[in-house]
């Protein structure tokens, strides 16, 4: 790329090949538009209230909660990759570590931003820290998501400070060098916090005694959904990381990591997904035959309403659970990039479906016998706010890729990248 076309070349790592500034801005333009639209929609909700949404007293949670649960599951790759690299010493995954941190940071910060719009009184968010109800899963979610977001910001700082210009500042250089020693500790703390955070998001619905479709028995204070959410998040996190990296490779036209890294991420994802599918199948059997009938709901009461038939349950376990697990594990398919990415996409789809079922289907189903099945369609403000979060993620990731060494450790990948 001609240097004259790189107006921002001073900020790009020496030797790194990047698109021209104009092309980069062109790439950003639609995402910036989407982000601005999202900010406008969120502003309407904050100014006029949640009457701008299509949520109501019966569908008190809507698209935003589904989106939160989904993107936080996808962001699990951040804490899990850090755990694999720093705690389990899987050094060969280091090339995707910085990328994982950025993915995690955007997912978590985006989710928190949506939550702030989703609550009726966002200025009272600090009440949860001041008057915490220790019995509430939402308290656990709030504490863990806040702390883990802080950890992600701290993990992002060393990546940020390796920018070509920031790296020239001696104090930043010293700080980054010293701070780097803390990163393994942060990875451990992050893994602990995120474990409970992912779990408590599952527990959020699992403890709902009044919603037999979601209610589960469990271990100690945690329903089975607590553990299933942790398992599914760590299973799908590496898969999502693979998809993001593959998308980045497609957009940039460069090989960013070695195929062996993909295969390793895929294998880890596949094995964990297989364990998750087995646990989910057992949980479903116990729920349909014991937990649910005990409170007066027959096994198939929940699946008699279209379009939420038992086909959804089957889809979540077999084509979007067992099948991607096999695609990711079997050497024959795992060796081929196409099958590997297909497996990763199906795995992500399965977890998205699981989050959708637990959030939306739970509220759509009637609990009182004389009640009717409910429908809900998000308003444009809800969709635009969610779109804004997606755009925010793409923009932050794009900027990070352009100006920070996201894949620098990958041997032979994004080659000739060096810092001053």
């Amino acid at each position: 790329m001609s240097e004259t076309l790189l107006i921002d070349r001073r900020w790009i790592a020496r030797g790194a090949e990047r698109a021209s500034t104009a092309r980069f801005l062109l790439w950003l333009a639609p995402w910036v538009f989407l982000l601005l639209l999202g900010i406008y929609a969120a502003g309407l909700c904050l100014y006029y209230g949640l009457n701008q949404t299509n949520m109501d007293n019966r569908f008190a949670f809507g698209m935003w909660i589904f989106a939160d649960l989904a993107i936080i599951a996808m962001g699990a790759g951040a804490f899990f990759t850090g755990f694999l690299v720093y705690i389990l010493k899987q050094e060969d995954l280091k090339p995707v570590l910085n990328s994982a941190v950025v993915v995690g940071l955007t997912c978590y910060s985006g989710a928190v931003a949506v939550l702030m719009v989703d609550v009726g009184q966002p200025l009272r968010a600090w009440f949860t820290f001041w008057y915490p109800n220790t019995h509430s899963m939402l308290t656990e979610v709030t504490f863990c998501i806040s702390c883990y977001l802080l950890v992600l910001v701290l993990e992002y700082i060393p990546v940020l400070l390796r920018n070509r210009q920031l790296h020239k500042i001696p104090s930043f250089l010293v700080f980054e060098h010293q701070f780097h020693k803390l990163v393994p500790v942060l990875a451990g703390v992050g893994a602990f916090l995120s474990f409970f955070h992912q779990g408590s998001l599952g527990g959020l619905y699992g403890v709902l005694r009044g919603r037999p479709f979601a209610y589960r028995q469990g271990f100690a204070i945690w329903p089975s959904t607590f553990f299933l959410f942790v398992l599914s998040a760590v299973a799908v996190g590496p898969s999502f990381l693979m998809l993001v990296t593959a998308a980045a490779e497609k957009v940039t036209g460069r090989r960013l990591v070695q195929p062996s890294v993909f295969r390793k991420l895929g294998f880890i994802s596949g094995v964990l997904l297989a364990v998750y599918v087995a646990a989910k199948a057992i949980d479903t059997y116990v729920w349909l035959n014991i937990t649910s009938p005990a409170v007066g709901f027959g096994p198939w009461d929940f699946y008699s309403y279209k379009p939420f038939s038992s086909g959804l349950l089957f889809a979540a376990i077999v084509p979007l659970g067992l099948l991607p697990a096999l695609l990711l594990i079997m050497p024959f398919t795992a060796r081929k990039r196409g099958w590997l990415l297909c497996g990763a996409a199906l795995a992500c789809g399965g977890v998205l479906l699981n989050r959708f079922v637990l959030t939306v289907q739970t509220l759509a189903l009637p609990t009182l016998s004389f009640d009717e099945f409910l429908q809900y369609t998000p308003s444009w403000q809800e969709v635009a706010t969610f779109g804004g979060v997606i755009a925010y993620g793409v923009i932050v990731y794009s900027l990070s890729y352009r100006y920070l060494p996201l894949f620098e450790s990958s041997k032979g990948a994004d080659k000739n990248v060096s810092l001053d």
Partner: protein, 250 residues
Amino acid sequence: MNARYGMVIDLDRCTGCGACMMACAAENNVPPAMPSATYRTGITPMLVRKLSNGKNGADSREAFIPITCMQCEHETPCVAVCPQQAVELDKSTGIVMQIPQRCLGCRYCMTACPYHARYFNWWDPQWPAGMEKSLNPGVSVRMRGVVEKCNLCHSRYHSASEKAAAAGKTEIDPADYIPACVEACPTGAILFGNLADEHDPVSTAADSPDSFRLLERIGTEPKIHYKTTQSWIRSLADRNSDRRTEAQHV
């Protein structure tokens, strides 16, 4: 002794007139619904719903069932889930209290409630000019973005407590504490009282074979009971309640 205030609502007497809903709204300063509000976004701490046996012609039967907060006694779903203690079960009265001033508006409690008896303030409360003079000074209005629900007209309980204290008594006179819906019901379908007092008529009515509770098997021990002698209502509304009592009707 701690009280356990509750109700027994006689569905055979309920005509569906809606007087209880009106009285509830007036007593608790519920603002008029916004033009764009629907039955799913309005605020109706007492909501009369229609039941139908689903048949046509001469076999068709209809009845009405007032739905309000069931004042769950055991593992109260909304109390357990609120992240900032804006909902609490008052052990001295058995009333499930909502503190709007502390509510975050997360609506987790609404998701947790199996009876759909909790309401979110989707709009800023507004009254037509002049109507604000009719507001009940004993009940604070709720702002946009918080959840509210029936609290068994707790302001009336306060008034009764103050009256008792002024007279040097420790217990309130039952005649001084009657929720607005109970007072307004023209057919006397709603019986209110202390379920912990075995001599209270409400206790006797709650123990009647004709009485039942909604979703009883979920195990939240609601303190709002219903009563009917019509088997089709029992089979419809009582699908999940204790089968032993249902058997007595057959």
